[in-house]
Symmetry: D2
Subunit: 329 residues, 4 copies
């Protein structure tokens, strides 16, 4: 079994603003400062970095130097296809010029992926969708969604692309809104280098079981990445992983282990009002307990309980392993 | 263009019970009595009938006679694969004997479809899914879900099968929970005679745009049926069609018209506390207005607005047509 | 500190039906059979009993005898003001004759409370509310809701009445839908013998923090009872307590302990597809762990963390105590 | 009957940013520019203005001059008690120094209200609440919430204060989250100059019927203001009023009319991607139709239908009036 490795979106170590706190929840930080903070987290090995690099003009080399100093590698690059220019969509923008610009930006991000020898380009088309009934031609925008990804994957067949789906926000309705829609699109695109990044919080606030969604993606050979956090099931709160739904998060990792899924345990938390290093450490402690609990779990007994859909029995087996190792934290 | 035709689930004219009003919201009715009531609705042409026939022992011939008298045809047969025996699932039941019994029941329902020359067997696996984390092996139950439908469709290649998806209820989580999961499963089953029945209410309480879901199913060649109702977006309330979300319902029918979809406009309402004939008539009046509004809609102007994702412009065009014809009701 | 005592709604040991599984999730049971089952639960001391007694004609004496045999006492009586007759409301029914009948039924239930020397009459007006916009005059039905309770409390000043609020179901919208509306009504009624029963699941699926709601009710001197279960935050699933949201449930009990609230730890679970005795035992094991964790919790450290709204710090303190004792289960 | 007058939050004419589109959905505007845009809306008479004035340093006199030029008056002043400094709460901030600063800021806003002879100080404590279980002492923060408002209302007894409740955002959970909690708090504060501002969207996404909430606030003598918009019932989308839920919005205004409520019809829309003047005009057209429909509504027939909770009958009466006047738009 592969050693447990941890990652985080570099934005975990940024500060945030929203439509009300327009002055932000803290002093703005450059990506370099965020990397420095990330380096202070005990067991973090990977970061996912937004492109363009925030907070100034930085070369790939400067970023690399900073990462080396912090002991971090790059798992993926996330092109910012959800800023002002793309507010009516990147792949689905009604303006072909903007769609072209999205393509160019992502193509630049591809070079960054190559530079850092990262695992994938992460596509999170948060503005691609609609707000109102009748606003869009649904056939057109879905076609554009698939074409946009497909073209990139064809042109950059040396790289992997992951789509991170999410039900909504910032767009009132995102088109890549769920695991199953994303898989449906990926199968239609039909290329081997397009997969899914499953965000635990996106899954549960969309009404999915993250465990079920993971199994489905694995069975399609498309689970290329994942990250975790928590929320109150109605919005992408990006709270501390394990803080609200430890058992469902455990089931998610159980499915990964059972399928021998190998990959980085990433965090996508937004510490609006918390210390970001402490929050990352706290989450990682939780995830270490989860991993030990998975080492200790009675898989045979669990399978047997599941074979009869015995909820009480299965839960007891799972809880016993989980709580034992959480208690040792 | 085909004449607008209306249908309803025969359960629209039954009485209901729930876990609290265990004595029911009215005197129990036999399917024959329900058919008689359905016959009183002004413009109803079709019914979808549960199998076995409720309220007594009735032969297909007796049902037929009653339907003839009421001036009704059968659009589909809905085998009751969600009663006590199937409370832990029909296709996904842990007990292979129960899965077999579900297969047998649906096979009997196939004969009823043939007898009535109906359009399809409707599969609504309301108990197939799970309640708790860890309760099921997700891979197994999804495989069983597809195999169960696939076997039936293979054995009865002369018939169409429609899957009606729904997020939840009665099972806490249904496995055929959304349009995209259902399409994903159907594409994997890979048979031409399996399609989707889109229930407007199921779509919107699952966070879908019913218009978008319809377009997607049509593009996959899988929209075999539809029915309408309304709800508060958090549960399958089965309220009067058009009572809460007239504009979204209009967009749904706009997509059907634009794609030249031909089919029966069905009702899936549950008049727990209302007169069922009045409620059906009220919904049909609404649907007639919708149809006239679709005749009158400025498609070119709407397409133009949609081409720039102009929400205000598109909405005005749609509302103008809809309200004009609703006002004439 | 008072010894931890457990209770359950007697319906926990009944079988259920719903609008789909109209033949029920098991053979019907009489209240006597349900009491026998309840007696098999390890540490159950109290039951809340529906009135009229279900499954046959039973005298108070017969019930009492059965309870004695099972080693159970009655905590409350729940008049069934949500069956067919009351499907358009009990206190708010448009028909004054039905309102009167509700009053009479509850008055009979008062006598049962006296007979069993129970703690309260439980009012759960599940049909009082509305389904559609424009259906009701909101002023009238709210007045009737308060008058109905107020009259009973005045006429039976020797008894306590508890209102169990819930957002919805079976009515699409219940009028006593939340802790704060219920308190607002109770304060307007202005009688000392009317309080609230807080159901953990109702609170969380209504978007409340059950801990916060408990504190509020206590501060108004109105928390007369409580029961627990769990759900996916969008419906009253009545799942196993602690199965999904152990930390929030722990916070709820923490607030009770901190305020020195004395009362029975009741279950309101619906084991549709589970063994009811096993499910009760499993929940009680969880609640015992919670209680031991509350004995062990570092209240001073927690208060200090809360004084600075230190989420990470407070959670760690709480989790440490909870997981330690869950692990010992 | 008073002439129908329209207002809007001045932020309706600002541009926005969020945690993803950190460069904003358009070029930043000063409050002066926003006022100029507001002046271009056909029938706008009032604005609600954030304090401090955004986009620069402006004196009350400069604002006044700009408003006069645009033909606008001030209905209320909204102190910005939800920016960085207050990110852990204004009234409930753990730091008494921050609570003091909130008090001072609102006190300054009081002077602006006096200067403009506005109707009220609007308190929207969007950061007052919590994110995690165990994070806060619920008793303390609720007390602080009431004390904070009460002190201001006592010190400024010449002014009215309105609390605008909302379930969540930006705080994961807001403490003034619902109509009933806000009324409960206001009644406990016990001052005549504290009331509620009901935002239609906040009500419906919190699961309230806005009509019912309005009636309740009116019956308590506390409905001091209102504004409208629309959303998908799960978040404060601040979409175009009437775009999704026209019938429920009509019922809301019906309740206001029936109670002879006098006040400004305000907009709280966020045109992230729309032309703000067009969106305001579109909403106002809708509201004018609503007003004419209310003139035309058959109140006696509606009351009669409501007296028997006749949903179908009541809806038909309401729809007839509404659609007739929407069709004339």
């Amino acid at each position: 079994m592969k050693k447990q490795e941890f990652g985080a979106g570099i934005w975990h170590f940024a500060t945030y603003l929203d439509r009300y706190a327009t002055d932000g929840y803290g002093e703005p930080r450059t990506v370099i400062e965020a990397i420095e903070l990330a380096g202070k987290v005990g067991d973090l090995s990977y970061v996912d970095i937004n492109y363009p690099y925030f907070g100034g003009e930085f070369s790939n080399e400067e970023i690399k130097k900073s990462l080396d100093k912090a002991g971090l590698k790059v798992i993926g690059i996330t092109p910012e296809i959800y800023t002002r220019e793309f507010s009516k969509g990147a792949f689905t923008n009604p303006d072909p010029g903007v769609r072209k610009r999205a393509h160019e930006l992502i193509t630049e991000a591809c070079d960054a992926v190559r530079f850092f020898n990262a695992s994938y380009v992460k596509l999170w088309p948060g503005q691609d969708g609609w707000d109102y009934p009748f606003q869009v031609d649904h056939k057109t925008i879905w076609k554009n969604s698939m074409d946009g990804v497909g073209n990139l994957a064809t042109e950059n067949s040396d790289l992997k692309f992951v789509i991170e789906y999410k039900p909504r926000e910032p767009r009132v309705k995102m088109i890549y809104d769920s695991m199953t829609r994303t898989l449906l699109g990926i199968e239609q695109i039909g290329l081997p280098n397009v997969g899914v990044l499953l965000d635990f919080g996106h899954a549960i606030y969309g009404g999915e079981s993250a465990a079920d969604s993971a199994q489905l993606a694995i069975d399609h050979g498309r689970l290329f990445g994942m990250d975790v956090n928590d929320n109150f099931r109605s919005w992408d709160d990006d709270l501390l992983a394990g803080s609200l739904h430890p058992i469902e998060l455990f089931e998610f990792f159980y499915v990964l282990r059972k399928n021998n899924w190998q990959g980085v345990w990433q965090l996508d938390q937004f510490p609006f009002r918390e210390d970001s290093v402490e929050m990352a450490n706290t989450a990682i402690d939780f995830l270490k307990s989860v991993n030990r609990a998975l080492d200790d779990l009675d898989y045979d007994a669990l399978s047997k309980a599941q074979a009869s859909h015995d909820a009480m029995g299965a839960l007891k087996i799972a809880q016993k392993a989980l709580y034992k190792h959480l208690a040792r934290d």
